[in-house]
């Protein structure tokens, strides 16, 4: 067994959980970092320019459609 081998043939209890950890964790760790990173971006406040833009688009559309109230 070399250190490059991922699954020891006869794991002790501690090594056993470690082996599972080795197989699982690189992906779990990437997934967690990705969610942390993306989550931080999502929590940033939406810049006012977008809200203003939507309001203007909405207003322009209402103006452009001289329909009666409904």
């Amino acid at each position: 067994m070399t250190e490059t081998s991922k699954k020891p043939g006869h794991p002790t209890e501690a090594e056993g959980s470690h082996a599972g950890f080795t197989g699982l964790d690189p992906n779990a760790s990437i997934s967690r970092k990705l969610r942390d990173y993306y989550g931080a971006l999502q929590e940033e406040a939406i810049p006012d320019r977008f809200l203003d833009l939507l309001e203007r688009l909405d207003a322009a559309e209402r103006k452009a459609q001289p329909t009666e109230k409904t």
Partner: protein
């Protein structure tokens, strides 16, 4: 416009608003640059608004919006040509001026690694791993086969592991214990 049309209008705007944080996070992480991302989001809002009529109410509006933003990203990238490739240098300077924006270094390291992925892999892992799309939806957004998305996500994960030096036990250092606790908790 009919009653129904008005109602669709309101729900269109509501859904657009509700999707903005996710859309913007995708734009920032796809383009790697805040300023460019905000232009991208603005163009997406205008395109979406102008093409409201082509959206079928009741279908997946989030996927529709992401598709618009993605198309916009690639069309702007084509126009800019090579200039876009230079994300590394831009990142370093952004980091130097706004370190607080990325919180702790861990996130900054992650961003740096993400920026080094090829675009197709980056968008795949972002859509599936962060933006909340199923593989099938992500395939629709990218206009490719589900299998293609799956393989891009898998390649993206492997590449990120390499870039971040996460290859297995021993490389976790002091974090390994906390990480294994998390894994146990998630594993049930």
């Amino acid at each position: 416009m009919t009653e129904k049309g008005k109602e669709d209008d309101r729900s269109f705007k509501r859904t657009l608003l509700a999707t903005l944080p996710n859309l913007r996070a995708f734009a920032v992480s796809l383009s790697g640059r805040q300023d460019r991302a905000d232009d991208l989001v603005q163009d997406t809002i205008m395109k979406a608004w102008a093409n409201q009529a082509s959206f079928t109410p009741g279908t997946n509006m989030k996927a529709w919006l992401f598709t618009i933003l993605r198309n916009e990203f690639y069309s702007q990238m084509r126009k800019r040509g090579r200039e876009v490739q230079d994300t590394d240098g831009v990142f370093s300077s952004t980091l130097a001026t706004h370190p607080e924006q990325y919180g702790h270094m861990d996130l900054a390291d992650f961003k740096s690694a993400l920026d080094q992925l090829p675009e197709d892999q980056r968008e795949a892992i972002l859509l599936v791993g962060a933006a909340g799309f199923a593989y099938e939806e992500a395939a629709d957004v990218c206009g490719c086969a589900v299998g293609t998305i799956k393989s891009r996500v898998s390649r993206a994960r492997n590449r990120l592991q390499e870039l971040l030096g996460i290859s297995g036990e021993g490389e976790f250092g002091p974090d390994s214990e906390a990480a294994s606790v998390t894994v146990r908790a998630l594993g049930g």
